[in-house]
Subunit: 281 residues, 2 copies
Amino acid sequence: MITLAELNGIPALEQRVAPADHPIRGIISDLDGVAYRGDTPIEDSVKAFRGWSERGLPYAFVTNNSTKSAAQFAAKLSRIGIPAEPSQVFTTISAVTSLLERRWPRATPVFAIGERPLLEAIEDGGYHLTAVKPKIVVLGFDAALDYAKLRTAVRAALAGATVIATNPDVLTPVHDGYDPCVGVITAAVAAAVPNARPIVLGKPQPFLIEQALAHLGTARHETVMVGDQVGTDIAAGKAAGMRSILLASDVPFNAVADVVPDRVIASLLDLARPETVGWRR
Amino acid sequence: MITLAELNGIPALEQRVAPADHPIRGIISDLDGVAYRGDTPIEDSVKAFRGWSERGLPYAFVTNNSTKSAAQFAAKLSRIGIPAEPSQVFTTISAVTSLLERRWPRATPVFAIGERPLLEAIEDGGYHLTAVKPKIVVLGFDAALDYAKLRTAVRAALAGATVIATNPDVLTPVHDGYDPCVGVITAAVAAAVPNARPIVLGKPQPFLIEQALAHLGTARHETVMVGDQVGTDIAAGKAAGMRSILLASDVPFNAVADVVPDRVIASLLDLARPETVGWRR
């Protein structure tokens, strides 16, 4: 797999991280596992975001989930009590459409596995969704995945189509355990077509975080990334050269070589007044 | 992945191969790509098998395909003009049920992805087919694969179920190209659950060939394996310590390290009278 940075010729970001006691003036947060788990709000997090909203501390959200639009995620956040506008939410849907726009002309034939918001965004971007001779295959989470879709993706990859996956996650936590995520479909296609070399978007690539940082307008060294997964959230924060905070949870994770969070917290309320209390270990 | 031999404590077979000019007194053959391609008979092969049948040269068939029963394959062969009884056909269905019988008591809960003949054979073996807390997950080719089945398999593997795949093939040749085969589903489950270490049956394991050899009753050094795939057919023949003949076709294959066929032929008619002409290079 090649990274987006390699793909776009972007030089590696400096790994310089702000001093631990630097104030936090902007927050970039993961969604599932931080704001909520599945359909259940995480109450401490709701309180923390409400407090930040009231005091004007800007925040934005980055998610590897491609099954909802930014507007749908903002509506979900608002429903559970976290003030959020669509412009604050950066999903792998926008990562896909941004990549398509930078590299392929409109009307390019695209075969996509995914749920309706992903498919609509690709069509809204001017691309031609089709199972016939696609030049690009987009792999996203799809609860209606079936053999015919997998076959179309594999055949297109065999014929030389570029394969793009929304995110690398192989499992996604749900209320009663884990469900397979798009990473397993990418593994299936890559097993059939080793030369396909899928482009894997989403965290741990820093792309979504860079989008969120540009939206916040805060300085990189005064902005933090908060998430519950080391391999994606913390790695992405590090790749963006940001201090990265792990929200500890009951979800186990595999340690990732050379990825260490700058801080581990049990509740977002531990960061409740980050702009005044600064950074405490 | 562990091999069947490791699993059962079977010592590695001797790799001693009969001299090239040794007569052939029994033939073990792959099906798809040798007897027929999809639904189209390979005419030279039909003539060759008919001739062997008339002269009483025994043959048997081994296939990684788990979508038909031995009786269904024998009927298909008879329809295209190759005399065949169900007892001459060894499929990965029997490899699965043999493994189950040797290692797990009847009524053990099994979740299986596969087509009806595989599922029926597992049930006929006395196992309890269920999606609820299975102890064993069997992965076979299933044109009706869907996300729910994949999820059930992944969740069972996460919970510690033993994962058995009917065969390793990632692609299966069809009339107009290639379709993804069970190897990609195994790759998907293994990506989600790296500890699952699937047991992968079928060729290149020699198990089916050993079954076929026992049925033929011919001596190992006077029996040959014929197939069109180096990585499965020829490797399995070698693993069984047999001379292995590659039927060259227009289907490309990847070279496999240390696996070299003893002979390459363009038509089974090149072997038409193997018991008298002996082995020619």
